[in-house]
């Protein structure tokens, strides 16, 4: 059963309207019935002359006249003041295994209270969550789920983390940051799943309130970013460096799309860059593409391709390289880079066995990096 339920499709299926999910609703709850927009002033923007503004949140730096919305579709200029329309307006809420994000080196086997609002600041033709990311907030039903309620729900449902995920958390930045602060106050950590299109200043502030960020690095080629993402590679690489320098946990996901970004030499360059700029211990996940949204004419990624790319990254010296979306595959497991012993066995999103002891290999005591307790 899908653990994530989009309001758009689920509203008619008798879903529950509540900010306080009942205990039986381990996967999602809560649907609004009417247009539900917030009116909270945005952070990181400049007022310009004649009621215009310039958004400073992401590299697009949208310059907007009165009543116009940014590329993300969820931030609007009203009379020269910029507002987020999705503050506290969650359109998707789930309790997910943290492996689903995927974070493989963060509290394995734990649950993450996972939230999203509508909107995204890029337009990936292969988006796997387009029903919420590529729509405007009026086009999905949303739940009033303010930061305090999110933190309370995480505590209530024994989730040690809140994950900002599914769509693009950058576009609900204010909601994410305030929730992370509230969650931390209640002893709950925050993890972020992002495409990394965010400017340095807001990103640096974000790294002070969250514990881990996973970046979807969609390619190592600017043309690919321009054509299939409608974004840029360079700011994403900058974001990865800023996260690493901030000292919070970082993992990288690379969705492998047949014929579009699966060239071994490109992936080799990418892994060399990661090794050089970030270090060999950053986990890298090669995940399997499934035809979706605007790219339906390509097959799912052959497993052999994922295996080949994983081997390439390992050859280049990265120590924790995974394959994703292939349940039961050996590439889902964590191996000690020193003695090669399997230290975490996974199957899909489940932890079959976790032999790490306080983050160290039980065989050779090598320390495996991550957030383990």
């Amino acid at each position: 059963m899908k653990r994530r339920i989009f309001f758009r499709t689920a509203a008619g299926a008798g879903a529950v309207l509540s900010a306080d999910p009942g205990p039986a609703l381990h996967h999602l709850y809560a649907f609004g019935q009417t247009v539900n927009l917030s009116h909270v002033e945005a952070r990181y923007y400049k007022r310009l002359a004649d009621r215009e503004i310039e958004c400073g949140l992401c590299p697009r730096r949208c310059k907007l006249g009165d009543k116009e919305r940014g590329y993300c579709g969820v931030r609007q200029n009203e009379g020269g003041t910029y507002y987020t329309l999705v503050y506290g307006k969650a359109c998707s809420v789930n309790v997910d295994p943290i492996e689903k994000k995927p974070f493989f080196h963060v509290l394995p086997g734990s649950d993450a209270l996972s939230i999203a609002t509508a909107g995204c600041n890029v337009h990936c033709k292969f988006c796997q969550n387009w029903e919420i990311s590529q729509v405007r907030p009026e086009q999905v039903q949303a739940l009033d789920f303010p930061p305090r309620a999110v933190a309370d729900a995480a505590v209530k449902y024994r989730c040690p983390t809140v994950a900002y995920t599914y769509s693009e958390p950058t576009v609900f930045y204010e909601y994410m940051v305030d929730t992370a602060v509230e969650a931390k106050r209640q002893g709950v950590r925050s993890v972020v799943v992002s495409g990394g299109h965010i400017n340095p200043e807001p990103l640096e502030a974000l790294t002070k309130v969250v514990e881990a960020i996973k970046i979807d690095l969609k390619s190592f080629d600017e043309d690919f970013y321009r054509t299939y993402v409608r974004g840029e590679l360079k700011p994403v690489l900058e974001a990865i460096k800023i996260i690493a320098q901030a000292g919070i946990w970082l993992e990288i996901v690379y969705l492998v799309i047949p014929t579009l970004n699966d060239a071994v030499e490109d992936v080799r360059k990418m892994t060399q860059w990661l090794h050089r700029e970030i270090g060999p211990e950053v986990p890298l996940h090669f995940t399997r593409f499934h035809p979706m949204y605007l790219i339906k004419n390509l097959p799912p990624t052959p497993i052999s391709t994922l295996e080949k790319l994983r081997q390439t990254a390992l050859q280049e010296g990265l120590r924790y390289v995974y394959t994703g979306n292939i349940p039961g595959h050996e590439g889902e497991n964590t191996f000690c880079p020193k003695c090669r012993k399997m230290v975490i066995e996974r199957s899909g999103y489940k932890i079959v066995r976790n032999d790490l002891r306080q983050g160290t290999c039980p065989n050779c005591q090598h320390r495996v990096p991550g957030i383990w307790t």
């Binding site: 116009e68 993300c72 579709g73 387009w130 605007l294």
Partner: protein, 298 residues
Amino acid sequence: MAASKVVIVRGKGVIPRKGEVEPKVLANMYERGFRLLTGQNNSVAGLRTIFAPADRIGIKVNAIAAPELTTPPEVSLPLARLMVAAGIRERQIVVWDRTNRELKEARYRLNSGGDVFQIMGTDTAGMGYPGEPITHLNIGSLFSAIQSSFVTASVSLAVLKDHGMAGITAGLKNYYGAVHNPNKYHDDNCNPFIAELFDAPSIKSKHRLTILDALVVQYHRGPSYHARWAETYEALIFSLDPVAADFVGWRIVEDLRKAKGLPSLEEDKRAPLYLRTAERMGLGTATLSGIQIVEETA
């Protein structure tokens, strides 16, 4: 090849005061416009050359910058009534835009169903953006059910405005309101997106007529309203060529900018190059020499 005809009808006194439309002057403007556009003896006969009685006609208005810079009911409903006079039943005519909220802010009284004009946003129950995303060139969108399913013939009744990203917004860009994700099509001065969206089958195959509401033209700092740069221009612009109509609209905006000492859109690095793209795609004419401009005061 025959030149594309664009008719500009000026109506002195059509805006007697800010926010008001003088109905008699407007009626004369429509009358003259359709006669000149179609060569028929009256507007009703002219409309019959464009629409058939069986058509379900969508009049796509632009309600986004309410209340000052929208296609108001005082402009769209007289057009709908002319269509009724031409033999189209009221219930076969829908005046529409993206959302009911925007239409209400533009002073429309919503109505869906029954034997009268339909006035509704795509967010009306039973409409929406059904189905799977449709890809067409660089476009990937869900299309409004009003445009894709309800209507068989389409009129773009757009407000002519300067646009900070596109250069100008007029009849072609008005169809951004027909898809669920217009915010994704503003890169690169909206080029080639405006042309490619118009080229999508559910728009191109249904579009019959462009009328630009140039009663008040925002020639700078659009698409939002700024009184300082809004000219009471008192014109309606008619064309069967959607690209030529917008091209003439562009020239009007440029002339106003020049007269007010503003840089041209090209100098401002936002010339509406999507018009050239549209011409290259065979959607119409964006070359002055290929356009026959007929201008008259009603």
